[in-house]
């Protein structure tokens, strides 16, 4: 482990609770992890496990009403939790930027895409109109958009989903952020485009020396692109560790279920999904036990009564939360 100050991002005991009509909804609870410079970490979990809420909370981008955040997010030394909008605004774009989940809704439909890139450059970096335009076209080229000069004037509706996601990436990269939060950057795109976008992100990360938080529900996506993986369930970390360890020596039954539901890495054309039986828990009605218990074939009485805390596994940096962990000798899922 390197010195703490080397870390770009330190998340500690972070919780996000929404005040809803049905009561407090703990979308993210007690999350801790860190991220080094130029590192990519994967955050995986089923739909509704709190990935988007977590990544927005890290950025300080949660809705401004009916939400309470506790814990700490140190981003390059800046505390984001409880910071004013003005303070965060100075970090957004330049320190941290986000690639949004859905390219169909995250671009302003009535603004030319060029303007949407320009704007960040002009407002945040104080560039002149001409410089910003030139840079925007460069960025469009960088993210692999053909004939960027013409596309500069296009409206989002004139572009395909894959092209729009590239635009979203171009916007995120515009002010050269140190940390890129990529929230399922390829969901809803077809398989070949998915690979293109992910490879593009990889390449840009190397070229621009960024750190990346890569959010996905598909373990296959993070297998080769991340150094570490965070597995989330019902707003909590249930397993965290080096990518290799999580694939080969995962101890938490939910991680295994996720792996089995993911299209196998070695067999990308075989995309049949085995979904995890049962449904994610209602966050408004969580029990005191393990939140995976209703769906877990290893569940015992204890699982229903007491929540397992994260405990260290054999490998350094690898921990899991389970009363009845899988045996360590498993190693068949990675390949």
């Amino acid at each position: 482990m390197t010195d703490v100050s080397e870390k770009l991002l330190i998340v500690e005991d972070l919780s996000t609770t929404f005040a809803t009509a049905g009561g407090p909804l703990p979308a993210v609870a007690n999350i801790s992890f860190d991220l080094g410079r130029n590192e990519t970490i994967g955050i995986v979990g089923e739909s509704g496990s709190g990935k988007t809420v977590l990544s927005r909370t890290i950025m300080g981008l949660q809705p401004r009403t009916n939400v309470s955040v506790t814990g700490s997010v140190l981003l390059d030394g800046n505390e984001m939790v409880g910071a004013s909008e003005d303070f965060k605004r100075r970090l957004w774009g330049t320190e941290v930027a986000m690639v949004f989940q859905d390219p169909m809704t995250s671009l302003n439909p009535v603004m030319r895409i060029g303007k949407q890139i320009d704007e960040a450059l002009r407002v945040r970096l104080g560039m002149s109109k001409q410089d910003a335009k030139a840079r925007a076209i460069e960025l469009l080229e960088l993210v692999g958009i053909p004939s960027p000069v013409q596309r500069y004037k296009a409206y989002p509706g004139q572009l395909s989903g894959g092209m729009r996601q590239r635009v979203v990436i171009a916007i995120a990269l515009a002010c050269s952020p140190k940390l890129l939060m990529a929230d399922e950057p390829t969901t809803g795109l077809d398989v070949t485009i998915q690979a293109q976008i992910l490879n593009l992100l990889d390449e840009l990360k190397e070229r621009l020396h960024m750190s990346v938080v890569l959010v996905t529900h598909d373990l296959g996506v993070v297998a080769t692109r991340t150094s570490r993986i965070v597995v989330m369930y019902a707003g909590r970390i249930v397993e965290i560790g080096a990518t290799r360890d999580v694939f080969a020596n995962h101890r938490m039954p939910y991680t295994r279920a996720l792996l089995e539901s993911s299209p196998k890495v070695s067999n990308a054309s075989h995309t049949r999904l085995i979904t995890i039986p049962g449904r994610p828990p209602n966050l408004l009605k969580l029990t005191q036990g393990c939140s995976f218990a209703p769906r877990c074939s290893y569940a015992t009485d204890k699982c229903h009564q007491e929540r397992p805390e994260l405990q260290a596994a054999d490998q350094p940096g690898h921990s899991f939360a389970c009363w009845n962990p899988l045996p360590t000798t498993r190693g068949d899922s990675a390949t």
């Binding site: 809704t105 302003n108 704007e119």
Partner: protein, 316 residues
């Protein structure tokens, strides 16, 4: 976009054609000897003969229509036998007054409604929003003639400016300050009605837009709240506003006569009432035609603007 515009223009031509046929028959549906009816009692035979020729009454009805429409296209709506003035001249004097009131009232309404809606939408159900919404709702329930009476009372008693003699209207040509003074009351009255609609429509659309993902995205770029409201939220939220403005302005042109009548402003509405009272059918016909075409054109114009503002619409 071009195809869309061409389609709309063809539609426009169709609608104007229907309106012209309607106005044409407005006269022809009058009972009895049409020339006598149009000219009223005491019509001289010469005048009757003139009108007979103008309308081409000796020809088949469809030819009569073409003669009539041909005259109109040459700017000839006939000459009123009541006032002996060409209808075009009378309308030409009244219409600019309508346009000016409309323009002033709309500028006022937008100038108040837009910033208020922006402020309200930032914190829906906040103190300011509740205050604005309650205020606008109250205004919505007050009819325009009450607004006028209250305004007249306020202006003449509180501010001590005498108003609404029979000739209170001052033409723009001479004294523009006097003109603005005479236009202030009608413009404010019409603005009150428009403003309420604009505020409510824009407020609710802004609130919906601010929930959109692209607003969060704009926030994540580090843009100021102000910029997000004006550059990102306003335009996509203004489609319903423009639609409402189109309907509303058309409505003002067609229905501004209450205000004009009460405040003695000799615009089209005022002139129309006078024409009806004096059985000046040619003038009635002319005003109906001009107002109908005007309403259609206004709607067409706003449709067009909406398409520029939101390019999604013509694409779909």
């Amino acid at each position: 976009m071009l195809r869309y515009v061409i389609r709309r223009i063809l539609m426009l031509i169709g609608i104007v054609f229907i309106i012209s046929v309607g106005s044409f028959f407005l006269i022809h549906l009058l009972p009895g000897n049409i020339t006598a009816v149009i000219e009223g009692p005491g019509a001289s035979p010469e005048n009757q003969a003139k009108l007979f020729k103008l309308l081409g009454l000796n020809r088949p009805i469809y030819e009569q229509y073409f003669v009539w429409i041909g005259n109109i296209l040459h700017g000839n709506l006939g000459t009123s036998f009541i006032s002996q003035t060409p209808v075009v001249t009378t309308i030409g004097n009244a219409l600019p007054i309508d346009l000016e009131i409309m323009f002033l009232s709309q500028i006022l309404a937008f100038a108040v409604a837009i910033p208020m809606a922006m402020r309200s939408a930032r914190k829906p159900d906040g103190v300011i929003d509740r205050f604005f919404s309650a205020g606008s709702f109250t205004m919505l329930s007050v009819p325009s003639f009450i607004v006028i009476i209250l305004l007249v009372l306020f202006v003449s008693i509180k501010l001590g400016i005498p108003h609404t003699g029979p000739s209170s209207y001052v033409s723009l040509r001479g004294d523009w300050i006097g003109n603005l003074e005479s236009m202030a009351l009608p413009a404010i009255t019409l603005a009150v009605g428009s403003f309420v609609v604009y505020f409510r429509v824009l407020r609710s659309d802004l609130i919906a837009t601010l929930q959109e993902e692209f607003i969060t995205m704009a926030r994540s770029k580090g843009l100021s709240q102000r910029r997000i409201m004006w550059r990102h939220a306003f335009r996509p939220s203004s489609v319903a506003l423009l639609g409402a403005a189109g309907v509303n302005i058309g409505g003002l042109l067609a229905g501004g006569f209450v205000v004009q009548y009460l405040l003695n402003i000799p615009g089209l509405g005022y002139t129309l009432i006078a024409a009806i009272n004096t059985d000046d059918y040619l003038l009635v016909q002319g005003i109906v035609l001009v107002v109908s075409v005007g309403v259609v054109l206004i709607n067409f114009f706003f449709d067009f603007i909406i398409n520029i503002v939101d390019p999604r619409i013509s694409r779909e």
